[in-house]
């Protein structure tokens, strides 16, 4: 299979915002996703892309724009809503050896497909004693702001983290999104890809050729010695901004971008804690019962001896996302909140 010819390259230190780098190939996050999909469609004839609105004039947020013109509507096709049935259809085709990528606008809509995702996709291989792979990719983008409100703003990766039999990737840079998506498509198992709307507003270095970023490996975005900030998705940007402010006052933060939520890179966190002894976890999901809770519990179990103070978690307020912008500001945690929390932590 040509997938073996796609090299695995881990990402170099890439800043989240646009920057001049020595290598001149800078493209947008959106184009990077599109390149990943295009590469996959080129490499592997089993790959196809489906979803409501993927063949709109602008595609889904630009990421699937005009792919059908190159690859044809048999392989890149718009769909009726029917999320439950279409997830099952994607599962069935993948069990027969195809590699579907099912794109949704928002994770919120995956709730309509929960039975097929949780009861079927994650279980077919296990129930059959390893005989029925489900190489399915489900892609969605968490919304944020402009009064999107409760049903179009959910960050639901925490819900899915609970379920055995799937993987979850949450890339944050143009480099990572292409490499991780390609790894996800190559993977023989269900992989959920959760983007974040705000991360589309960036450009960065992306190699022209196809490459894979390994699933399950985090990266240190900024080295530091006083506090470890484990950040997920858009919170990586917030954490990097917070660490700039803290640096001024001599507080050195190490920012880890997990990139994969399930399975997540525990080793990189523990290695960082050996230096800092202080852990802050910043997630885009609700604080209760989600990713930050799981990581905190797991680190407390495995690396308690490395901690010299309580673990601190930042997540969205435990309410449905409100529409009014003043309430939105209260709902979401940002760089200021991270800074404030760390200053308080360091004062103790």
């Amino acid at each position: 299979m040509p997938w073996t010819k796609v090299n695995q390259l881990d990402s170099i230190e890439i800043k989240v915002n646009t920057e001049n780098v020595n290598d001149t190939r800078i493209i947008s996050y959106t184009d990077s996703i599109r390149e990943a999909l295009s590469s996959a469609l080129d490499i592997d004839e089993r790959v196809f892309v489906m979803g409501q609105g993927i063949n709109d004039p602008n595609g889904i947020f630009g990421a699937t724009k005009d792919l059908w013109k190159i690859y044809g509507e048999e392989r890149v096709f718009d769909t009726p809503l029917s999320e439950a049935a279409l997830t099952g259809i994607a599962i069935g085709s993948s069990m027969m050896g195809m590699r579907p990528i099912y794109c949704h606008n928002r994770p919120d809509f995956l709730m309509l497909a929960m039975d097929q995702i949780v009861n079927h996709a994650t279980k077919m291989n296990y129930m059959s004693g390893g005989q029925c792979n489900v190489p399915l990719v489900i892609w969605a983008t968490t919304g944020m702001g402009w009064g999107s409100a409760a049903q179009h703003s959910q960050a639901l990766h925490g819900l899915f983290m609970h379920v055995p039999g799937l993987k979850i990737i949450m890339p944050t840079t143009p480099y990572d999104v292409k490499g991780l998506l390609l790894s996800a498509i190559e993977d023989n198992n269900p992989v959920l890809v959760f983007e974040h709307r705000k991360l589309f507003n960036q450009s960065g270095y992306v190699p022209e050729n196809a490459y894979k970023v390994p699933i399950g490996r985090g990266v240190v975005r900024k080295a530091g010695s006083d506090v470890t900030i484990v950040a997920i998705s858009e919170m990586v940007a917030e954490a990097l901004n917070a660490s700039k402010g803290l640096e001024v006052d001599g507080i050195s933060c190490e920012v880890i971008d997990l990139r994969t939520i399930k399975p997540y890179d525990e080793e990189i966190i523990i290695k960082s804690l050996e230096k800092t002894g202080k852990l802050v976890i910043a997630d885009t999901g609700w604080k209760t019962g989600g990713v930050s809770a799981e990581i905190a519990a797991s680190i407390a179990e495995k690396a308690f001896h490395l901690l010299n103070c309580s673990i601190l978690r930042l997540g969205s307020e435990d309410v449905p996302t409100p529409a009014s912008h003043v309430l939105e500001r209260a709902f979401y945690k940002n760089a200021d909140d991270i800074e404030f929390a760390i200053r308080t932590m360091m004062d103790k």
Binding site: R75, I89, I91, M98, S128, G129, Q131, C132
Partner: protein, 322 residues
């Protein structure tokens, strides 16, 4: 006077017998407690599995449900592996990880079954989509019950199949009960597939007449294979045992003796037997020979299954990821 080739009819009869004898042996042995798995017996519905599956190639795919023993065997699934699976053994067709409700035999086009009612319907539709994209001429068939027709995902799947003209046949086995709840408490129509008529053509057949099923299925499958698109076949039938476990619905208190007797007299195997005797292709000798031969096969399967090893607890993560 039979409507199909006598030898095909005889094969169908023997397949129904095979299913019936297997199910009855499972029922007989179930309360020995060597099979730690809920069983949903197919007794009374054999004509449907036999009549449909005999029209399929090994590369065609069958998607079944929790009541899967008949479909598994009719598609050519390995009997011993099924019995071992029921006994939760490592040698089971799903390596002991699935149990009765989740049988697999990829070698004959029988992927793992889902026990979420209607869960397999979109998955089967996806299998048909794969055939279309690949341009293979494989047909996918999905078996589901009257209660499954009440899940929205079935209608959604059929709409998509109609849109893409997928090579899939939807077989609804209407046995008129959703566990204990009779059809009249659940729907306005006696034909549960009437609600799909706006999307797909629906054929209604006697689910206890293997000839009718064979003929309807043959037409539908052959047509789908050459791009004629999907079809629904509703087969009216009755299950002679409870939803799960071994007693009858009468003993369980939700079926009447009269109704049960009525359907007992309409047994699909008895009907075929009578016709085949009349045609002179079946006689007592052939019958007894088959029963004797197959009982040996069954006994052997049970004996081996009981002796086989159970999975190792240390292997609990096996098959989580492919």
């Amino acid at each position: 006077m039979t409507r199909i080739d006598k030898n095909i009819y005889l094969d169908l009869y023997f397949m129904m017998k095979k299913i019936r004898m297997t199910e009855e042996k499972i029922a007989e042995n179930y309360h020995e407690d060597n099979m730690h798995t809920p069983v949903h017996l197919y007794i009374g519905q054999e004509a449907i599995a036999a009549g449909v599956c005999s029209n399929l190639k090994p590369t065609d795919k069958v998607f079944s449900n929790h009541r899967n023993h008949g479909h598994y065997l009719a598609k050519g699934g390995d009997l011993y592996a099924m019995i071992a699976e029921l006994h939760n053994k490592e040698t089971g067709c799903s390596r002991g990880r699935g149990g009765s409700m989740h049988l697999t035999d990829n070698s004959v086009g029988f992927p793992i079954t889902s026990a979420i009612v209607a869960g397999g319907v979109p998955i089967a539709t996806g299998s048909a989509l794969a055939s279309t994209i690949r341009k293979s001429n494989d047909v996918s068939v999905v078996f589901f019950g009257d209660a499954a027709s009440e899940e929205g995902v079935v209608f959604e799947s059929m709409c998509f199949a109609a849109l893409k003209k997928l090579p899939i046949i939807y077989i609804c086995e209407n046995n008129m009960f959703s566990v204990c709840t009779p059809l009249e408490k659940r729907e306005v129509s006696k034909s549960v597939c009437k609600k799909f008529e706006s999307v797909l053509n629906v054929k209604y057949v006697d689910g206890n007449d293997v000839e009718s099923i064979y003929l309807s299925a043959k037409e539908a499958i052959d047509n789908a294979r050459v791009g004629g698109g999907p079809l629904v076949i509703e087969c009216l039938t009755y299950r002679m045992r409870d939803h799960h476990d071994t007693r009858t619905g009468v003993d369980a208190g939700y079926q009447t003796q009269d109704e049960w007797q009525f359907w007992s007299r309409r047994c699909p195997i008895e009907k075929a037997r009578k016709n085949l005797y009349e045609e002179g292709v079946l006689d007592e000798y052939k019958e007894k020979e088959f029963e004797k031969m197959f009982m040996l096969v069954l006994d052997d399967a049970f004996r081996k299954a009981i002796a086989d090893p159970l999975p190792k607890p240390d292997d609990i993560y096996y098959g989580l990821f492919g």
